[in-house]
Point group: C2
Amino acid sequence: MVEARLLQELIENEIRLQSGRWELTSPVNLYRPVSYSLNEGGKRLRPLLVLMAYQLFGDNPREALKAALAIEVFHNFTLLHDDIMDKADIRRNRPSVHVQFGENSAILSGDVMAFIAYHFLLESHTDRMVEIMQLFTRTAREICEGQQLDMDFESRNDVTTKEYLEMIRLKTAVLLACSLRTGGMLGGCDDAAARILYEAGIHLGLAFQLQDDLLDTFGDESAFGKKIGGDIVSNKKTFLLTEALQKGNARQKKELLSWLGKESFNRDDKIKAIKNIFEDLKIKELTEEKISLYNICGIGILDSLPVERERKEPLAGLFRNLISRKV
Amino acid sequence: MVEARLLQELIENEIRLQSGRWELTSPVNLYRPVSYSLNEGGKRLRPLLVLMAYQLFGDNPREALKAALAIEVFHNFTLLHDDIMDKADIRRNRPSVHVQFGENSAILSGDVMAFIAYHFLLESHTDRMVEIMQLFTRTAREICEGQQLDMDFESRNDVTTKEYLEMIRLKTAVLLACSLRTGGMLGGCDDAAARILYEAGIHLGLAFQLQDDLLDTFGDESAFGKKIGGDIVSNKKTFLLTEALQKGNARQKKELLSWLGKESFNRDDKIKAIKNIFEDLKIKELTEEKISLYNICGIGILDSLPVERERKEPLAGLFRNLISRKV
């Protein structure tokens, strides 16, 4: 079995290779933003999940490398378009694609990345290609639905935690689940195992996104690499906020809603006031508990796979690491 | 064999059925623009090509209906995104999607349409699905490349006719070619026939786009349904313009370039002046000749298919009709 560190190297090398090609592919105005976007870095979590899930069943992770790349390219496509829609001008400490190359480039280069993702997926050697394509296509649609719900939530203050969890299932969790399932299928797992991997991925994804929410408000600013409180400032309907609105007493709820309604305010005041309410309601502990639950559940589901323990350990380790992360 | 008129009905019914569904699908802000876009009308040329190519070989065109729908949805996805990039606020006499629903909707609903297209394509029953997916994916990438070249040409005045033809091959012709090839494959044609259909489609597509260029400048305004001269006003690098810049003498070329460089001008003056040069250079006749050549070529290629004459006739008729169209 190839260890995680080497899988990561494999992924980075493949991305570097492909980026180098796109850098030189014509029309350059189409492909240069693709290269820029892929070179931005990032955790490369999704391709790693593909390769690790592959290794539960298969012995040559290179067989899943093109699929891993496909999913990373797809993920970056969603970032390009989301950043336009969310007017997010910075991504991983650099100007977002639409700032660096213009909005039209971010739209069109984003589009081509979606098709490049299909292209790489189709380069995998497997007799279950149609099934993989169906899964990928359903996942892509669901991610669009999740992004739409996220945008719909912006103008609402009555989003429930249940609605929020469904939104992050669609926007974030299904792609992690798709990564695991695709990797497993390329490794040769059966249908039951494929479903198990998918479910484990959903739980991992929910835990992962809640951890993101938590870090945005309670993270260590220096480790996190960006200012904390962004979600609070922009009224983002996170798990923390939906829970606080649900659990708060009349006074707390009124104060929260009053902050949500303010057009102009002092950034630090707003963060401090809302964090105070979160602290009074023990939202941090509640969120950590929820993350831990999803994570334990995900690891448990993973553990139910009829595969030798040592093959499962690296993936279980990744699950554990992801929720103890500080960034 | 089902006649063309009935194939068109089949297509319209299927689109109406699906649009009705999307109208009610949640999240509504994601799927309502999809329904709006599909209901805008249009020639439904691409799905018709799928079904007609299918009928060269197969006897139940319903077998190709989902693929036909897929390609029409895909085509509309490209219109959504192109209209944002080109700032085209009107499409088929109605506000474009980004005007009607906002730009974010046009981006995201466009994205989901690309994946809906894959979804419908994957619903076809065929043992050549992977090949069809590869063709479709390559086509999608090429269309993005064509759109990029089209945008790149906006800021250039030295676009050659050869470059222009390559741009419209990518932006327009490959999807017509893909439609014919996909239909034929679903009908059960062999690889040689598939390649023939593709080539015929490329020629049809080039003729089709040149006809579009011609109508935009020399069309009958009342029949065309929109003001003529739009391409001239916006300095679009059409076949007419690239040819005129190439064939014109020093004075004509200078006048053309001077109009291209003007920031403010009287719309009618510009159209009249440039049309005058086109007329002096017999650009209209030259374009008609070129269209006719591509068309004859396309029909000839089609005719080389080892299929009974009566099966080929409807498609050949469509080829002929398309270039005599006034709108």
